[in-house]
């Protein structure tokens, strides 16, 4: 009995010691190390590669950081970032506001869907980059034309996911609702919406990423501010570090939007949280 106790204590001590080892520390908490480790590797490779090229081809991380500080000091960050943010977000909201209700109508009405589908697919088949100049002619160099380009880019995935999501409402659930005496409105709020939500969020996330692309494409076609405009004008000056600043800001904007929607999804779709890892 006493021996057993000693053995146990000994064993526990060994385990504790192992846990404090550096290798084990990383192994047990690798998810906290993966992000800084990846960032470190990325910067290291970038730094090394930049040694082989002149600055106007591939600036080093330090140069880009310096350009960013200068850019920020000139108070240009908010000026450009806010434009692209508003264009992308506005375009996304506009697309969602039209695509979601439309997808609900199309999902419930095969006849309307047959009428609409060729136009929707046709619209999607026209490259957005070819459409952008036209929208700039129609709506000017201001923010409106970019919002529309962003909306067009985001529209399609939101719509198709919406149609799929709303159509896949389990008919047995519908019957169950009918047996419980639910009316049209109750079925909409308590069955159709929650049942479609996971698929809807898939489309919204895709649409949000595409809306950033749309905003930049719109700015390329003609604009006076925004991160896309910044890339374009920096290219003219061979100011490659500034292009990198704009690209990194665009990446951050995209990631920010994605995280925002993922957080929203986490709150709105709690029943999917722990399924399949």
């Amino acid at each position: 009995m006493i021996n057993m106790e000693c053995w146990n204590r000994e064993n526990r001590r060994t385990r504790t010691w192992r846990l404090t080892g550096f290798g084990a520390l990383i192994r047990e908490n690798y998810e906290y190390f993966s992000l800084p480790l990846g960032l470190f590797l990325f910067l290291f490779i970038w730094k090394t590669a930049s040694g082989f090229y002149p600055s106007f081809i591939l600036p080093s991380p330090g140069e880009v950081w310096g350009r960013w500080q200068e850019f920020y000091r000139q108070r240009l960050f908010f000026h450009h970032f806010s434009a692209t943010f508003l264009e992308a977000f506005g375009g996304f909201c506009l697309a969602a506001a039209i695509a979601l209700p439309l997808s609900y109508v199309l999902a419930g009405n095969p006849f309307l869907e047959k009428i609409f589908t060729p136009y929707i697919v046709g619209m999607q088949a026209v490259p957005i980059i070819a459409l952008a100049p036209l929208l700039v002619i129609w709506f000017g160099f201001g923010i409106t034309s970019k919002v529309l380009v962003a909306a067009l880019a985001a529209f399609f995935p939101i719509l198709t996911n919406g149609v799929v999501g709303f159509r896949e409402t389990d008919p047995r659930f519908r019957e169950m609702m009918a047996i419980m005496g639910a009316g049209r409105k109750t079925i909409f709020w308590k069955l159709e919406i929650p049942s479609a939500l996971p698929v809807l969020f898939g489309g919204l996330k895709m649409g949000m990423t595409l809306s950033v692309i749309g905003a930049v494409v719109g700015e390329f076609a003609g604009a006076g501010r925004g991160l896309g405009y910044l890339v374009n004008s920096a290219r003219g000056n061979f100011d490659t570090p500034l292009i990198f600043v704009a690209l990194l800001l665009l990446a951050l904007l995209g990631i920010g939007f994605y995280l925002f929607l993922s957080g929203f999804e986490y709150l709105a779709v709690p029943w999917k949280r722990r399924q399949k890892g």
Binding site: R172, F173, E175, M176, M177, A178, I179, M180, G181, A182, T186, K190, L191, P194, S195, L197, V269, W271, Q275
Partner: protein, 262 residues
């Protein structure tokens, strides 16, 4: 003779209206009376319209001919005196167990009552169905038996005096099924509910019910019924009695007669 709780009179249901190329009607001339506090089973081959008959009684499907009365009135969907327990439980995956059981109350209240009030009733129904402590779980976290208990609680939550069960135990393993059968009998003896149960399982039908109604297919019709005079409360021991075996045999004979017709 008291008035039946569920009264199905000469009910015919056919889905195609053109008589020229008519397939046999789903149900033809079905008569069935169920009395207060009875447990009645409907057995028959798949596709004979057992489940359809339950939907007619719920009122979500109108009969082509004939009439159905529940407590002397025409059946209306959403009537709180009637609880429906579907096959595969059909719990909404986005709702917790408690919220699933609460749903019929929410629909009935139409947002006018406080959620806590409804939750209290839902918890009570979960107690009746032996499913305490799983309130905050989502359906995908439950075992088959627990899902079925939650579905039973949802059927009971409006204070239903009648329970319609559509093959409620079909997807369960033998041990869990037996457990739930005993729980259903227990519930019946405590609440005195009227229970109409659709099942494929002849043993289950004889074990649980006072009457077994046997249906045939093409068209769906009632072939006959077997009265099971074994006393309630019942326990598993009756399955070994000669009387039990005889009743199973009688139900089997009725079913076989239907096969002979083809």
């Amino acid at each position: 003779m008291p008035a039946p709780v569920i009264d199905v009179k000469e009910v015919t249901l056919s889905f195609n209206s053109e008589p020229a190329r008519a397939t046999p009607p789903e149900l033809a001339g079905v008569n069935m009376q169920i009395y207060e506090g009875e447990i009645v089973s409907l057995v028959g081959p798949s596709g004979c319209g057992k489940s359809t008959l339950l939907r007619l009684i719920c009122g979500v499907l109108p009969p082509t001919k004939g009439r159905i009365k529940v407590y002397g009135k025409k059946a209306v969907p959403g009537w709180s005196g009637l609880g429906f327990v579907p096959q595969d439980a059909l719990l909404f995956p986005w709702r917790t167990v408690l919220a699933n059981v609460r749903l019929p109350l929410e629909i009935k209240a139409g947002g006018k009552k406080r959620l806590e009030e409804l939750n209290e009733k839902a918890r009570e129904a979960l107690r009746l169905a032996n499913l305490e402590g799983a309130e905050e779980k989502y359906p995908h976290q439950l075992s088959g038996g627990m899902k079925q208990r939650a579905a039973l609680a949802r059927g009971l939550v409006t204070g239903s005096r009648i329970l319609l069960l559509d093959e409620p135990f079909a997807a369960l393993d033998d041990i869990t099924r037996t457990q739930l059968q005993l729980e259903l009998l227990n519930l019946h003896s405590r609440m005195g509910s009227t229970i109409l149960l659709v099942t494929h399982n002849i043993f289950e039908a004889v074990f649980l019910s006072g009457r077994v109604v046997v249906m045939g297919e093409k068209p769906g019709r009632i072939l006959g019924e077997v009265k099971v005079d074994l006393d309630y409360p019942r326990d598993l021991r009756i399955m070994g009695t000669p009387e039990f075996g005889r009743k199973v045999g009688e139900v089997q004979a009725l079913l076989e007669k239907a096969w002979g017709d083809d």
